[in-house]
Assembly symmetry: C2
Homo-oligomer: 223 residues x 2
Amino acid sequence: MKVIPQRAASIGAQVHQQLRDAIVRAELTPGTALSEAEIAARYLVSRQPVREAFIRLAQEDLVEIRPQRGTFVKRIVMDDVLDARFVREAIEVAVAREAAGKADAAAIARLQATLATQAVATSNAEFLAADEAMHREIAVIAGRESAWRVVDQIKAQMDRVRYLSYIDVSPAQRLIAQHSEIVEAIAAHDANAAEAAVRAHMAEILQQLPELARRYPEMFEGS
Amino acid sequence: MKVIPQRAASIGAQVHQQLRDAIVRAELTPGTALSEAEIAARYLVSRQPVREAFIRLAQEDLVEIRPQRGTFVKRIVMDDVLDARFVREAIEVAVAREAAGKADAAAIARLQATLATQAVATSNAEFLAADEAMHREIAVIAGRESAWRVVDQIKAQMDRVRYLSYIDVSPAQRLIAQHSEIVEAIAAHDANAAEAAVRAHMAEILQQLPELARRYPEMFEGS
DNA sequence: GTGATCTAACTTGTATGGTAGTATAGCAGT
DNA sequence: ACTGCTATACTACCATACAAGTTAGATCAC
């Protein structure tokens, strides 16, 4: 049993986490102007930790810091989302292939458990959490958990879109069916089938994007 | 002709760039203790920008900030390098396949030009710059330049190893031969050959790692 | 009315002082 | 010689003050 290395996170880290969640969940809508002083007042802290949180967010491409002008929640750039999708597909395909080769009975059971959780999810956030848990679990099975950290970063851009689209465009049932195919392929140790299933799943967002850009134009960059 | 949007970068950004280069080039060796005050004194700036540079570096996994203890150049973790390699291979394979489909005569000429540059490189840094230019060019040809930004981040971990190994382990000639195969496959619009060539190239580091860990044990994490 | 200009209210960037936590060297008591 | 406490010299972290730049609006000249 390890001694608790868990200390209270720094204020800057906490602010970063809060803002990141808010941006990904589209509570802070694209284009919104943030200001160090305003956020600092809201959280009753000084400007410095807030500033550091902004720097972190800027490095994740979630905000844009314009010197002496302001900091803004980045608008969704269609090309960026498409490139994020491309990279994510490349990584997740490779991960799924490895997982298909390494999955044992216990691992398969864990995957099926997440599928069940998705089926009974009653809210958008709940479903997306189970969704993410499944994808991460696949990475763990493949022994590439740290590869998931990369996907997690990339994914943020896509998730912003997903939070807009879950209710409207893609019914959960459809996504669960796709997930189910991935799990079955891994359970059957069929790498090729796993790859095909992942690619089909990753194609989903391609169909959503045009519709979303039409419906929420103010959240997208005109570029 | 665009008006110069280039303004002097902030001090924090400059310090970040300098330190990042120094770490990747192994001038700042793994395990070295950095301190806000020390670096600030060295560059004749205040501690705050230095602190912000540290935060950026920490997010890139190049340093580790231990609260109230110090900030240290991260030691090279074998597993992290292997995972970085895995992710990079997945992305670069996908990029190369697309490039094979899209390359026109001008693009192929540009690739061959970088090959020539590599052949006449007289220093480690010079060769690595040409190497990087070629890989980025492939991404540009594929129309996935922003995907390269992801690789660039991942690659930092691998580059730290490469700066140790260039002279000792992998002769440039061997790498150039591998690069040449990649270019030929793309020029022939043969996606499968391009994939195979990239995978072979990415396997190179696997052979170097054990030897390097043996030779420079103090730069690696015992974990 | 129209246009240029100045001012005031923002913004981010930098410097500095102080705080809390950690590690270490040295001294005290065995 | 060895153990345990204490003072001290670090560290990152946070708050505050100041500087430099941008922008929007009021004001003044025409």
